[in-house]
């Protein structure tokens, strides 16, 4: 990371800490905002957060590594999380999963080489009456069929396309 980018991130984290409070209880909200903006939380970001909150960076890493929605390793701009739990399983999640892999050319747990899409399993999304369900970032799709996999991915590319390009250049 360039020094100027590091400084920018540092200032951003300071602002986040100022807003959420310089307490340990502010750790999750701060990390969640970083996650949302950058799709992962880097070593450098964790060190700055630790310095700002006066805790050891390993404490921050412990928290980041614990929660499924916080990521240390880089993830795609669009994180597709397909529910793998029982009701969505009974409703046919396996074929949706297969087709998502076919469309993106990656397996679950991987990110496309262009950094746009990550494919992940999720535990119960609370859409059990309308499965199979998946989340694309914070957007929910229900009653997904294998046929719709392509359309959902295209929707990401077009609807959020401008946003994605900006982020990639930021």
């Amino acid at each position: 990371m360039l020094v100027s980018q590091q400084q920018k991130l540092q200032e951003e984290i300071r602002a986040l800490v100022a807003r959420h409070g310089r307490t340990r209880a502010a750790l999750m909200p701060v990390l969640q905002e970083l996650q949302e903006k950058y799709a992962s939380i880097t070593d450098f970001a964790m060190q700055v957060v630790a310095d700002e909150l006066g805790i050891h960076p390993s404490e921050v890493y412990g928290v980041v590594s614990f929660y499924a929605f916080l990521h240390h390793e880089p993830k795609g701009r669009f994180q597709i999380r397909l529910c793998q739990t029982i009701s969505c399983d009974l409703a046919g999640k396996a074929r949706v999963a297969k087709q998502l892999e076919n469309e993106l050319g990656i397996a679950f747990g991987e990110t496309t080489p262009d950094g746009r899409f990550s494919l992940e399993w999720a535990s119960c999304l609370g859409m059990c009456d309308q499965g199979p369900a998946l989340l694309v970032n914070d957007r929910v799709y229900t009653r997904v069929t294998a046929e719709q996999a392509h359309r959902i991915i295209e929707e990401c590319r077009s609807v959020f396309g401008a946003h994605a390009t900006q982020a990639a250049h930021a």
């Binding site: 340990r24 999750m28 739990t85 029982i86 929910v140």
Partner: protein, 401 residues
């Protein structure tokens, strides 16, 4: 497709005018508020079934440490597989939930409330913030609520981040405090030593909405619904092999057979009551009642049709627990992984009865020795399938897969 409305029956919550419950509660003394909740016999709707009045009473009596305050936390970390009624409540009846929190705050003397919303429901957050804003403007949150001198209370929304275990109240508190969601030893219980070490009430979303309904319509009305030990109505999240999956309201004490009739699930071979941590009830036991005295549940009902492979079901649940165990205590961390291995062995048709008995003994160890409800209840699904569907799981050949 975009999510559709899950409600399949009219809900009692439709008939509760927002504001009426809070107004009725604020007309009472603190002791009488708790007395009313106790008289209603309301028990926790998250599944554990602890009497709400007792919990409030303990928190009201607890001493605050230093100059800080007491807290009311709404547990909106709905993560039990097959459960989605809290999503419906937060979408359509958020006022009743916040009102229940406000009544709880009045009862125990809390000044701050936190709603811990599961990360998967982040799309509900703007809606919930808007409801909170409206309530602040209407004088239902903030200082001197509804003209009650000295009654100050406000609510903040905090997000979870995809950890099932954070639905356990002490893990939830750990998470709010900025730690890994690892459950604490209990006692001390949160009513004495909760968020930031202060007395804290943690209630489920539906429990809090039910409190509001109780104050709007009276404890006697609530107690008149359901059975003697299980008062009131309950929301059920129904999914799986039935004609009309969705959210239903029934009085507690309904039998599984009656429920299946209503949801279009007759002919099922088994029903999972209580989600992954509950049990698979076979058709021969469909006369059993859903109530705290028989089958207690947070409301998750998953219907398995005649063609379903129960070993596949058990495997899905065990994969869930292996993924969601926090890893802190050994019985749960290692036990769930061992049970999953056992299921894979059964799948291959390579499990002796002696080994299956070993697995059952491991289940018993986990139930006794795990630190929190996750590890104590994760063997339930496996045990109920071993007990009720033994002919389906032993001696499998490739054709059975």
């Amino acid at each position: 497709m975009q999510p559709s409305d899950s409600r399949k029956t009219p809900l009692t919550f439709d008939t509760i005018e927002p504001g009426s419950g809070l107004a009725a509660a604020l007309a009472k003394s603190r002791a009488d508020i708790i007395g009313e909740v106790s008289a209603s016999n309301l028990k926790g709707r998250g599944g554990a079934g602890f009497p709400t009045g007792t919990k409030w009473n303990l928190a009201a009596a607890a001493r605050v440490h230093g100059e800080a305050a007491k807290y009311v936390i709404c547990n909106a970390d709905e993560g039990e597989p097959g459960t989605f009624k809290d999503r419906v409540l937060l979408t359509a009846y958020a006022d009743l939930v916040f009102e229940g929190m406000t009544i709880a705050a009045r009862a125990i003397g809390a000044t701050r409330g936190l709603l811990y919303l599961r990360g998967e429901y982040v799309y509900l957050r703007p809606h919930l913030e808007a409801v909170l804003d409206r309530r602040r403007k209407a004088g239902q949150l903030g200082a001197d609520i509804l003209g009650t001198p000295g009654f100050e209370f406000d609510i903040e929304i905090r997000m979870g981040a995809g950890a099932y275990v954070c639905g356990e109240e002490t893990a939830l508190i750990e998470s709010l405090e900025g730690h890994r969601g690892e459950p604490r030893n209990r006692p001390p219980f949160p009513v004495n030593t909760g968020f930031m070490g202060q007395p804290t009430v943690v209630n489920n979303v539906e429990t809090l909405a039910s409190v509001t309904a109780i104050f709007a319509k009276g404890a006697a009305w609530f107690r008149g619904i359901g059975t003697e030990k299980s008062s009131g109505f309950k929301l059920f999240s129904v999914s799986g092999d039935c004609d009309a999956p969705g959210v239903y309201e029934f009085p507690l004490g309904i039998t599984i057979a009656e429920l299946l009739e209503r949801v279009g699930g007759t002919g099922a071979k088994a029903v999972q009551v209580g989600g992954a941590s509950g049990q698979a009830v076979p058709a021969s036991q469909f006369g059993r009642r859903i109530a705290f005295e028989d089958l207690a549940t947070g409301g998750s009902i998953i219907v398995f049709g005649p063609g379903r492979d129960m070993l596949h079901v058990a495997k899905n649940f065990m994969e869930f627990f292996v993924e969601e165990s926090c890893g802190q205590c050994t019985p749960c961390r290692a036990g769930n992984a061992k049970l999953l291995e056992g299921i894979e062995r059964l799948e291959r048709g390579a499990c002796s009865s002696a080994y299956l008995n070993e697995l059952v003994r491991l289940c018993e160890t986990m139930q006794v020795a795990s630190k929190c409800g996750l590890g104590q209840s994760s063997p339930n699904a496996f045990l109920s399938i071993v007990t009720n569907f033994q002919d389906e799981i032993l001696g499998r050949t490739p054709a059975d897969r």
